[in-house]
Amino acid sequence: MDLSFSPEELAFRDEVRTFIAENYPPELRGKQDMGEELAKEDYLKWHRILYAKGWVAPSWPKEYGGPGWTATQRYIFSEELARADTVMILPFGINMVGPVIYTFGTLEQKARFLPRILSGEDWWCQGYSEPGAGSDLASLRTRAERVGDHYIVNGQKTWTTLAQHADWGFFLVRTDPTAKPQEGISFLLIDMKSPGITVRPIITLDGGHEVNEVWLENVKVPVENRVYEENKGWTCAKFLLAHERTGIAGVARSKRGIERLKEIARLEVDGDGRPLIANPFFRRKIVDLECDLTALEFTELRTLAGEAAGRGPGPESSLLKIKGTEIQQRITELVLEAAGHYAAPYFRAFPEGSNEYPIGPAYAHRAAPTYFNMRKTSIYGGSNEIQRNIIAKLVLGI
């Protein structure tokens, strides 16, 4: 057992750090600092830079375009991205559908979709949840009927993140309504420009347009766009959820979040005039949170070590999801508390002709909206209660 990095790993860290410093677009940094909402092109800009370097899909096998890194290198890479506070790589292509395609897809599907996921040419969205199928995902009712060499898809998906930008979506659809819920589902790749698809925005508590409803009316999908066997889509769905959950721990991002919290707590003062960070009640919340983050970090490192030893992400990833999202939410709670009075003013966008908000410190503007928005984390990707069910069943065997 050893925590230290080898000289090669330290050199790798320096290489990553230097690359980010020299290549991260300054205009993105500016938008993030001012709390401005990011556009599609903003995400793609950084995606393309990492793609050109060959670093956009750290966990992909080399044969499909991954960099062939060790678990430690991947850990270092995500630490450095978080340290530099880069915009996140959108997970829908790289972390979700990509691994499903290279694990379960045909040669044609791999050749057709994987390069475009890597390059950022295709923006993906996830068609899982439905109005009547949230935690009980397997009760989904969107229907796909086989007609010759096509499926005809009808139904409604919801909570579809950033579908307004998407070129493609991966959808869970019911192909056998007579089978048991999990056994009649198939995994389809659907061109979002297909006739019959309507995307409608859902505005969340923070005022943002992040999620959507997606309506499918007689959408024609070629059979060759089905991944894996008909009625075996649940296998892909579960695989994807387990993959999604490991990244969801967000340790490096939370470290950065706590650093930002400390910066704010140095600037704000309490009622006795001392910096908030010196207030005995507030500082205790910070150090307590840091204990939990260290525990999560080392639990994730143990899980990664297990993966390196050949065990794929299993039910342990549910633990990382629960604890990771709790910590992310607590950070936003404390930033909200720290913002004090100036958590209240609300501006949907910068005033005409200005690139800053007119009232209060910049960090306070996003405090409450971010807090509201982050309530999603314990609900999405399988609610934290569902994660407990998974651990109870698969780890404890009860």
């Binding site: 057992m1 050893d2 400390k262 140095r266 204990c291 407990r388 009860i398």
Partner: protein, 381 residues
């Protein structure tokens, strides 16, 4: 970075685990506690002669196995699983380390004797008014010819009733709370002037109030430069806290298993209570505390040789987290056991009692969070 145990470390764990399973089951343990002296000295002898684990952290030249912090962690986890009342932490993690650092003839004589099971050391650092602060001590040592004369009162010295030696902190100058003036001594328990009041603890150990009443010791008893022992004492306490984390992690893992087994067997409303979702989620929350306790134990143990601030941060984060987790897990375990959980009959209650004491041993949650806050303030200043 590497989270794998070496082959030797795995063998060490397995041989100790087998021994404890076969010869230190719960009923055997309870019989030992009820016997005169509150323990079975043959177990310690078996640790030395059959298993050879008492030499785990010491160099081969001293008769040891040449291991270090990770070996200590492995042993403490297994002792925790069995809620064993064996003074490995006091003797090997703390006492032996103090001797190794001091070196000289005394170390060369006593460390091999520890490995052979002949020397047991109690750590007399706490006092009635010191709480968790090793500098807030009032025991005095004054120069007395070539040697020293000690007067004072040490609190709840674990294993002192059967220890051959005591590792003692005393003031050679300054006032309680001062960073300077703390000295470290190793004394023989049988020396005239050592007055012990022995008693059992709530979690099955034996301990003593130790009073020094004009105790005279020679110059060799002083282990560190006079008055400058505090940084080393703090390092020893961090090692002890990390070892306590390992013990707690082992005890938590076992108590969780016992509770899961019980929930599977206990039938109410016509089905095992493990079928109820409210119980399932509680058991999952307990499991998450177990896993985090193990993770925290690793990170603290692997950082014990870092510079003092980083070491202290790692240990305090671990101890604070585990203190909270152990309390949650222990209370939940008793709750799930129901009425039988609050009796002496099942092992679960005894794990709960041990974990309750481990919460505060070498600093409770408040103490360690306060230590972290002090670092936070220093960084912010």
């Amino acid at each position: 970075m590497d989270f794998n145990f070496s082959e030797t470390q795995t063998m060490l764990r397995e041989s100790l685990a087998r021994f404890l399973r076969e010869r230190y089951d719960f009923d055997t343990r309870q019989k030992m506690l009820a016997s005169p002296g509150g323990r079975d000295p043959a177990v310690w002898q078996a640790f030395a002669q059959e298993l050879g684990i008492l030499g785990a952290p010491f160099p081969e030249a001293m008769g040891g196995l040449g291991g270090g912090h990770v070996e200590n962690m492995v042993i403490m986890e297994e002792l925790g699983r069995a809620i064993a009342v064996e003074p490995y932490l006091d003797t090997c993690v703390v006492g032996g380390a103090a001797l190794m650092r001091a070196g000289g003839a005394m170390a060369e004589a006593l460390v091999p004797a520890i490995v052979r099971g002949e020397v047991i050391i109690g750590f007399a650092w706490a006092e009635p008014k010191s709480r968790w602060n090793p500098a807030r001590i009032a025991t005095r040592a004054v120069a007395d010819g070539a040697g020293w004369r000690l007067d004072g009162h040490k609190s709840v010295v674990i294993a002192a009733p059967y220890a051959t030696h005591l590792l003692v902190t005393a003031r050679t100058s300054g006032e309680p709370g001062d960073a300077h003036g703390v000295s470290l001594f190793l004394i023989e328990s049988s020396a005239p002037g050592v007055v012990r009041t022995d008693y059992p603890t709530v979690d099955g150990w034996m301990a003593s109030e130790v009073r020094f009443d004009g105790l005279r010791v020679g110059p060799q008893a002083l282990l560190e430069p006079e008055g400058e022992a505090l940084p080393w004492v703090e390092e020893l306490l961090d090692r002890a806290a990390a070892a306590t984390c390992a013990e707690a992690a082992g005890a938590m893992r076992r108590l969780h298993e016992l509770t899961l087994d019980y929930a599977r067997q206990r039938v109410q409303f016509g089905q095992p209570i493990a079928k109820f979702q409210v119980i399932q989620h509680r058991l999952v929350d307990m499991l998450m505390e177990v896993e985090q306790a193990v993770s925290m134990t690793y990170q603290a143990t692997l950082r014990l040789d870092l510079p003092a601030p980083e070491r202290a941060r790692a240990v305090s984060q671990a101890k604070a987290k585990i203190a909270k987790g152990a309390r949650f897990l222990g209370q939940a375990a008793i709750q799930i056991h129901g009425g039988i959980g609050i009796t002496q009959e099942l092992a679960a209650g005894h794990y709960f009692k041990r974990l309750t004491m481990l919460e505060s041993r070498y600093g409770d949650q408040d103490h360690h969070l306060a230590r972290l806050e002090a670092q936070l303030l220093a960084e912010a200043a």
